[in-house]
Amino acid sequence: MPTVSPPSPVAPERWGDALAGAWAGAWTAVAAGPAALVAMAALGAAKPGVALPAAVLLGGGGIFLLRRLRRGIEGQALAAAPAAAATDRAPPFATILENLPEPLMVIAAEEADDLTGRRFVFANGAARERFRIREGALLVTAVRSPQVLEAVDESLFGGLERTVEWTGVGSQGRDWTAHSRPLGRDDRGSQLALLVLRDETDVRRTERTRADFLANASHELRTPLASLSGFIETLRGHAKEDPGARDKFLGIMQAQAERMSRLIDDLMSLSRIELNEHIAPAGRVDLAMAAEDVIDALAPQARDKAVTFDSILPPRGAAVVEGDRDQIVQVIQNLVDNAIKYTPKEGVVRVEIFPGLTAGTASAARDPAAARLSLLTPDLSDRDERYAGLRVSDKGPGIAREHLPRLTERFYRVEGQKSGERQGTGLGLAIVKHIINRHHGGLHVESLQGEGTTFGVYLPMAKSLPQKDLATADGATPGGVVKLS
């Protein structure tokens, strides 16, 4: 059984063969994911006295990969590296590490007091994509969290294992658990540490959503429930023999029951959307066709109020966005439905779609006199992104400036505004915001009191297919691996 430890004096190529031998039996299990990989590695390379065989081996693979790559590039022999090894008997370590779904990084440092000298010597695909790590980057340019930096320091210079939690910021912020492990020294005398991040966003979000759901639902359902039980009491009491009152009360009860069921529907769909908020939507939606469908569907409601639509839609195929059709339709429906509610009788609701906007023009103000606020701003790091904009305007009473920041808050209702007999649930705009966030789009509102309100949505346009398929990480080599440092 060969001994395996990262600063091995064995020549890298030989070392790779030794590893391969140890792994040969375990190869089929590797596909089961990183956990299996670590476990098998630990079994295969068990060596008394090594405290962290699993972590060391995983990290050792990183360094091995690095050395191999360095050699490969120097000796112009890259073609024979990972891809060729896969067809042979050796498992392609480079490809395994590169394709791990978890961000994995190896950090090197020379001096303990040089706080900013920590730099990346390896980062796999997930790490590069998520943290925009460039070649030879310093650790702080990708990770600023003091807890994570401390953990890495303790692994580098204290030889300790650390696990810390780290919560990202912003509308698309994620929750991570960071594991850091010491990896000893490399042949240049630098201290090495392994940093692996695990995405815990969904787990924590599920917990939070459940708590919120219960709190919101119980609070909001109490009102209609109280009114229902009040009417039941009256119907069993003195209104028992009065058919006129009975009909009236039953009508109110039905309306309240419908309100409760709408509320539950909205709460359910909100929590569903929240759970998927970090999963990018797959599919393409023609915004203009979706808007047409919504306008057709809401025609009866509009007819009841004698509200007409004034829509300016581009030709089909001009405003195609990346998205989940049902959700996009829900966004348009919620906005148009609101507009109908707040527009006075015989008013006009305007629906406009503009394709091919930049983020700047998509979120630009239309009326300088109006109160205006961006309710959601997408991550603007990609400057070439083109957006399709949707604007829905009503001629309602308008919303005062101080209410604007709170519009997308759950159950927030602007005081003294009547939305007609069909009362809303107070969740419509919250749903809109969460859906748009999932689609990496933006939302803004413009309102002039007495004149009306406009809600603007902009979503990234769908990219042409071949371009998307060919997209690879910056600097990716044919083996799918990038060398850093």
Partner: protein, 230 residues
């Protein structure tokens, strides 16, 4: 390569940036924890926010020393000089952010003695998250040397002001409704004001980044909301 290496000029410059970024991370964490201790009524966290502020002060002094040293010994010109000066200025702004976070922590300790007012603390939390993301964006812009991103932060300060305005009114309504809440509400008002100031520091940092990268001031008037005038 020997153990002891003499750092090159370029390395010294990039390490100054790295040090400011590290300090930024610490300031970010302080602000995040300060908001957390208001939202969760966490006295232990509030204590540690207050206690940790010293580290930011030390870091700032260190960055200042390094920047002066670099300017004195290397006599940088043009973009390099702006680089050193920006590090100085940004670290000063970050240090102020830390002070404001510390102040929020202190107020959180006092607020823990009062009755919980979850509706108000939720509004504060929401504003806090917004300010936090501004700070994050501007530090991202700094590490990536991204002028566009910095301008994005600079021009969207209005949103923070809107939130402050909204909280200001909310607090007034509360205090008028129940004078017993005046004590706690006043502290919350200061917390909101501190958050708004942190947002201002983020825009200052954005201005510093713009100057560092382009050599020009941002001239156009920033959209600004005046709460007092309304």
């Amino acid at each position: 390569m020997t153990e002891h290496t003499v750092k090159s000029y370029g390395e010294e410059l990039s390490h100054l940036t790295a040090e400011v970024t590290r300090m930024g991370g610490l300031a970010e964490a302080q602000v995040a924890d300060a908001i957390e201790c208001i939202a969760r009524r966490d006295a232990g966290l509030a204590q540690s926010v207050v206690g940790r502020d010293e580290r930011l002060d030390t870091l700032q002094v260190e960055i200042e020393r390094k920047a002066f040293r670099l300017i004195a010994l290397r006599q940088p010109m043009a973009v390099d000089l702006r680089h050193a000066v920006a590090a100085l200025k940004i670290s000063m702004n970050l240090e102020r952010c830390g002070d404001l976070a510390k102040n929020i922590g202190k107020r959180a300790l006092i607020l823990n003695d009062a009755e919980p007012m979850s509706a108000l603390t939720r509004s504060i939390e929401r504003m806090g998250r917004l300010v936090q993301s501004r700070l994050k964006d501007v530090l991202d812009a700094y590490t990536a040397s991204d002028v566009q991103r910095a301008i994005g932060v600079w021009s969207s300060d209005e949103e923070v002001d809107e939130h402050y305005n909204s909280i200001f009114r909310e607090l007034l309504t509360y205090m008028m409704g129940d004078p017993r809440t005046i004590n706690a509400c006043t502290h919350l008002l200061f917390v909101a004001k501190n958050l708004e100031r942190i947002g201002d520091h983020a825009t200052n940092i954005a201005e510093n980044i713009h100057f560092e990268l382009t050599g020009e001031e941002i001239i156009s008037q920033r959209p600004k909301l005046d709460v007092i005038a309304q």
